[in-house]
């Protein structure tokens, strides 16, 4: 069955088609949620809520862009909506250099470790870092998603990079000394 047919079947609430879509994209979307959330439990909640929204709105998909991209947007939106509900305080804009370099041996850093470091970032830093670095959004887009100024987005990103650099280096030095 083609993907388009599968999507149409999902729109008709076909259970089998829904299960297939979940099989195909579940892992990617769950990974996305892990990056955007503070821990596994929160990621799971976001993932479930996002997937329910995907199936409820699948009839609105217009077959023009990528289906995976459409699902990812819904997932990220689910997370952002929760963030907006929490109404996190704005953080004062700071001027921090654009590029952050870290001295690292790639074999020493595991995926789990990097994921954990992202999850530990303060909420807004985590969102901005994900949106900009991992999902390729511009500061302008991020500013509108999060209802903040573009400058705030930039400074948040720099702060996030800086925190991550310090943490990576700290972990690595722990590993060496340990």
């Amino acid at each position: 069955m083609s993907l388009n047919k599968l999507i149409k079947q999902c729109a008709l609430s076909d259970k089998k088609a829904q299960a297939t879509v979940y099989e195909l994209f579940g892992s990617k979307l769950f990974a996305l949620c892990l990056k955007y959330s503070t821990n596994k439990q929160e990621a799971q909640d976001n993932f479930q809520d996002g997937f329910i929204t995907i199936f409820n709105k699948i009839g609105q998909f217009n077959f023009k862009g990528s289906f995976e991209g459409w699902m990812k947007r819904i997932m990220v939106n689910t997370v952002l909506q929760k963030y907006r509900k929490k109404n996190v305080l704005n953080i004062v804009t700071e001027n921090i250099p654009d590029e952050v370099i870290v001295d690292v041996d790639e074999d020493e850093v595991s995926l789990d470790m990097l994921l954990k470091l992202i999850q530990e970032l303060p909420e807004r830093y985590r969102l901005v870092f994900n949106l900009y670095v991992l999902d390729g959004h511009t500061h302008k887009e991020i500013a509108s998603f999060l209802n903040i100024a573009e400058g705030t987005s930039k400074s948040n990103l720099s702060r996030a990079r800086f925190i991550l650099k310090e943490k990576v280096e700290a972990v690595l030095s722990d590993q060496i000394s340990g």
Partner: protein, 402 residues
């Protein structure tokens, strides 16, 4: 090997396309919380329209049945008129239960609801208002007011459980109806006689219908009626030019079988004739198409108001069987048949709608006047214009109930 690495790159390379299987219970949760959409069933339009109409009718009939029963309002009126007298009587009574009635008529009814009727078969319609008046005009000190109040208490308002015995109603009625009819058409008014008269104006002729109508009352509100009517209708196609000639032009929708062949004059017909270029006299006339039907209607009548003068809405359809079909030319004082129309269908139908006002003149005898609009369908098997004939009739009837 250690190297200086852009922090963005480090995270992108490791995290951009990684996948993690979601927990197994997630799917169960999602599945449970999905909104199951019922399959769309497209309901035919006519079912929806009929449904709405039925609901409206139900509302109207419920409203009429439950709002202000007549007997109740007449008693209220009576009490209102004699309010002072009632108050006097009650004031002079010492029995505390009767004192509740002192205020006004509404209190009286409220009290009545709570009191068990002394006579459960007593019905509102049986209250004799005259007796009440008599009692009320007498001196309040006598025992009679007590009697009045007892009876008043026994009015089974609100808590009534027993239904009054209704005399068996006569459900059937038969009528002779007669109606002047005006025949015309919707749309462009083109003549359906023949293609060459497509743009000629047409006009309806006043005609006539009469017949027998039988009706059966289904319930308080609805009746079904049918019968047989003889309908004669026709219309005129104007501005026909005719000249004496040697041959009959064949018209596609008219068969060359003159009904009265002896009277047939050979002539040519045309919608326009340029007289300036020849000397042959031409006459302007018209073609009358006359046709008649045996009509069998089937209609539903809905009663809006009853009483001596009743108002009803009537709707239904008729089956019409062609029994008369003739085309006649009329010009300068002569009339002649030119045959019959071959494009008139033997059977056609009409949708009927109208109102019906009836007036009871005697116990079982009433007259009714009913203006009806009847729109015909497939009158013509083929016609040149967009010709949708209809006729208006004012049906007057003398009805007998049995």
């Amino acid at each position: 090997m250690r190297e200086n690495k852009n922090i963005d790159r480090l995270f992108q390379e490791k995290l951009k396309d990684f996948e993690v299987s979601p927990p197994i219970k997630s799917w169960n949760f999602i599945e449970k919380n999905l909104v199951v959409k019922p399959p769309k069933r497209s309901m035919p339009l006519w079912i929806r329209i009929t449904g709405i109409a039925a609901m409206l009718l139900a509302f109207i009939s419920l409203g009429n049945n439950y709002i202000a029963p007549k007997n109740l309002s007449s008693i209220q009126e009576f009490i209102f008129k004699h309010k002072d007298t009632i108050e006097n009587i009650v004031k002079n009574e010492e029995n505390p239960t009767k004192k509740v009635i002192t205020d006004h008529e509404n209190t009286l009814f409220n009290v009545d609801v709570k009191v068990t009727p002394l006579n459960p078969h007593f019905h509102l319609s049986e209250i004799n208002l005259d007796t009440f008046s008599e009692i009320l005009t007498e001196t309040p000190q006598t025992n009679k007011p007590t009697f009045f109040l007892k009876d008043a208490h026994s009015i089974p308002l609100g808590t009534e459980t027993s239904k009054p015995e209704i005399p068996k109603e006569k459900r059937w009625s038969i009528a002779y109806t007669i109606a002047p009819i005006y025949f015309s058409s919707f749309g462009s008014g083109d003549s359906p006689v023949d293609a060459q008269f497509e743009n000629n104006s047409t006009s309806g002729k006043s005609n006539f219908s009469h017949g027998i109508k039988i009706a059966f009352k289904l319930n308080n509100k609805f009746s079904v009626q049918s019968g047989v009517n003889v309908v004669d209708i026709g219309y005129t196609t104007n501005n026909i030019h005719l000249t004496p000639g040697v041959a009959i032009i064949s018209l596609s929708d008219i068969s060359n079988k003159p009904i009265e062949s002896l009277k047939t004059t050979k002539m040519s017909l045309g919608k326009e004739f340029n007289t300036s270029q020849n000397n042959i006299t031409n006459t302007t006339g018209s073609i009358d198409q006359v046709f008649g039907y045996i009509e069998i209607p089937l209609e539903i009548k809905y009663q809006i108001t009853d009483g001596k003068l009743g108002l009803n809405i009537v709707g239904g359809f008729s089956t019409l069987f062609l029994n008369k079909n003739e085309l006649v030319i009329e010009a300068d004082g002569f009339r002649t048949s030119i045959g019959e129309a071959s494009n008139l269908k033997e059977i056609n139908f009409s949708g009927n709608i109208g109102v019906d006002v009836d007036y009871l003149i005697h116990k079982n005898l009433y007259i009714n006047i009913s203006p009806m609009l009847k729109v015909q369908t497939n009158t013509f098997s083929k016609s040149t214009g967009d010709y949708q004939p209809y006729y208006l009739g004012i049906y007057t009837g003398l009805n007998f109930k049995f």
